[in-house]
Symmetry: C2
Subunit: 334 residues, 2 copies
DNA sequence: GGCCTGATCTGCAACGATGTATGCCAACAG
DNA sequence: CTGTTGGCATACATCGTTGCAGATCAGGCC
């Protein structure tokens, strides 16, 4: 079997508890004793059994991260940042893919998954705030600002409205007047789709350009969704001089479809996205987009969650820090 | 505090062990007793404490997955597939990012990380076979066929040699004669880089085309590495009519750089990659590449690892299944 | 010398589940 | 009526740690 503290204690000639004390850096241990224990640990190749420690201490030092799917670049990049942020603070991250299904999201919120983690980072896609509050247990929970927004929940916010307005304003400044929106439904006002659409409308209004619902097409937020949606729009005879994909995958899908159809980008039609995934820089033409502060989001979310975990008693008001965004102008919409 | 089996037992009026038996589907339980227990579980909202179960049973039902970084699309997509494959078999996956650093890889192989998992899936990048064997503990370990290859280790193999030869043969069939290779060093013979380079050479030899080491440029296996490397090659005055990026990120980086420099792809220079990440389909022009059977690799690796975990006693010979590959011809090299 | 203080180390119980051994009862055979 | 079998339920020990409450001992002080 595995080497236990007991074995180390025997070899070092001390009590089991002393071994524990050495490992946990208890202050009052004679240097010589400490050394003997450390030598024994080395000799036997002892490794702390984290499962036992968790059971006894009630802490797992793991954070849960629930997202739709790692194969989506934005989530993968965010997950990577979150894992790094957690790591530097002594936590590991256990990822759970919800596949965008309400049942999976609910299960992740309340199921046994929670017993494995000290707290949860959650990117909700299928559940609304009400359902989340119902399903969530007592453990700390921090949402990552995507679709849901609610004053009762801790979350890190993306400036969906302002960032989308900035992108739109940039397109308008470039002289575009008929800007198609890919990834929303006319009338959406909540969630990332709604908030970004509202930002788009606000920028139009600022510039005195009329809003035309015919320019708004909805679809799955994936590359193929974006390609299909812009195709549908063009086939329906609607003309446009710019496309705003509500995330980069949509924009890249649309960009691809436009080029396939022989449209010149950006001369004829400009394209812009939202997220600034790495791929955006290397697309051809490279994609103009807005960076929602991914690293900052990861950092803030992890920090907030760990604060909640470690200061359970203190229960200050709900926190909703906002990440800062930055427009990235590239070739697709100079 | 949390609800325990004890609480359930009290409410249901049975012993703690009976609750355990119900949960574990023990056969001989009166239907009425079972129902009473289930009702109590429901009433109290009891959730099994997985930490306690793990400690007692010695199984965590978690697989470790060590890879360089989730922000690399190929790894993210592979991780996603692995998590799904593990999930259907009742296992969760704990991901650890090595950042391509030997120290991190070693730590993941032997550290406390192992006590959290029943077995490890490992994509080695920095360590060689010898170091892996030295560092690895007794728990099951399966490598994912990237760089390391060794008859003493379980692993799922990618047909690096044959797949790279197939890509090269396709480029040759298209009339290309000066095919640059991005991502290897002349003389590499092992690892993904070496094996793919060897495949390339074999295909050249088959077609009676001479191998020119000047066409081989090395760099980091990332988009920006590919861009920089092809730039370096062209700046040095070497001309080529095709580029084979040893993975898709390299190929896409190179593709981007070529277009920036005004080269026509594929008319002037064809581009091909290796991996078939989702992005390849939506690049412009879309990228010709080879799909190394990612889903199959994930499936096989998980299956092999779980077999090792669950049939510890039986220790048959080392297993090294090979995933099948498929050429995906697209616009960048028709 | 007796008492107190602080450094150093120890034993026991407990975290919440499961494995083993066993008890109890009804049904059935002899 | 006794003995055996099999269904059903239980008690106890145990996994490897850590928290809590001491135990021990040397040195300083009155």
């Amino acid at each position: 079997m595995a080497v236990t503290m007991n074995d180390v204690a025997r070899v070092a000639g001390v009590s089991l508890k002393t071994v524990s004390n050495v490992i946990n850096n208890y202050e009052f241990i004679r240097a010589t004793t400490k050394q003997r224990v450390l030598d024994a640990i080395d000799e036997l190749g002892y490794e702390t059994n984290l499962t036992a420690r968790s059971l006894r201490s009630g802490k797992t030092s793991m954070l849960g991260l629930v997202l739709a799917d790692l194969s989506i670049p934005y989530y993968a990049e965010l997950a990577s940042d979150i894992m790094k942020a957690a790591w530097t603070r002594g936590y590991r991250v256990l990822v759970e893919q919800s596949g965008n299904e309400p049942e999976h999201e609910k299960a992740a919120l309340q199921g046994q998954f929670r017993t494995l983690t000290d707290g949860l980072l959650f990117i909700p896609l299928a559940l609304d705030a009400e359902q989340i509050i119902d399903a969530a247990g007592k453990k700390p929970l921090v949402l990552l600002g995507e679709f849901v927004q609610d004053p009762r929940l801790d979350m890190v916010l993306i400036q969906n409205h302002r960032a989308a307005a900035a992108v739109t304003a940039h397109l308008l400044a470039g002289g575009r007047r008929r800007i198609a929106v890919v990834g929303a439904h006319d009338g959406d006002t909540t969630g990332s789709n709604g908030l970004r659409l509202e930002g788009y409308k606000a920028a139009l209004a600022d510039a005195g350009v009329a809003y035309d619902p015919a320019l708004v097409v909805d679809c799955d937020w994936r590359r193929d969704g974006g390609a299909e949606a812009i195709g549908r729009l063009l086939d329906s005879g609607v003309e446009c001089d710019a496309v705003f994909g509500l995330n980069d995958a949509l924009a890249l899908g649309a960009l691809h479809e436009l080029l396939v159809r022989g449209r010149k980008v950006p001369e004829e039609i400009a394209v812009a996205g939202f997220d600034d995934i790495d791929e955006a820089r290397f697309a051809s033409p490279s994609l103009t987009t807005v960076a929602p502060g991914r690293a900052e989001i990861a950092e803030r979310a992890v920090e907030l969650l760990i604060n909640r975990i470690e200061n359970k008693d203190a229960a200050p008001a709900v926190q909703q820090p906002e990440a800062s965004f930055e427009l990235r102008v590239r070739q697709s919409a100079p």
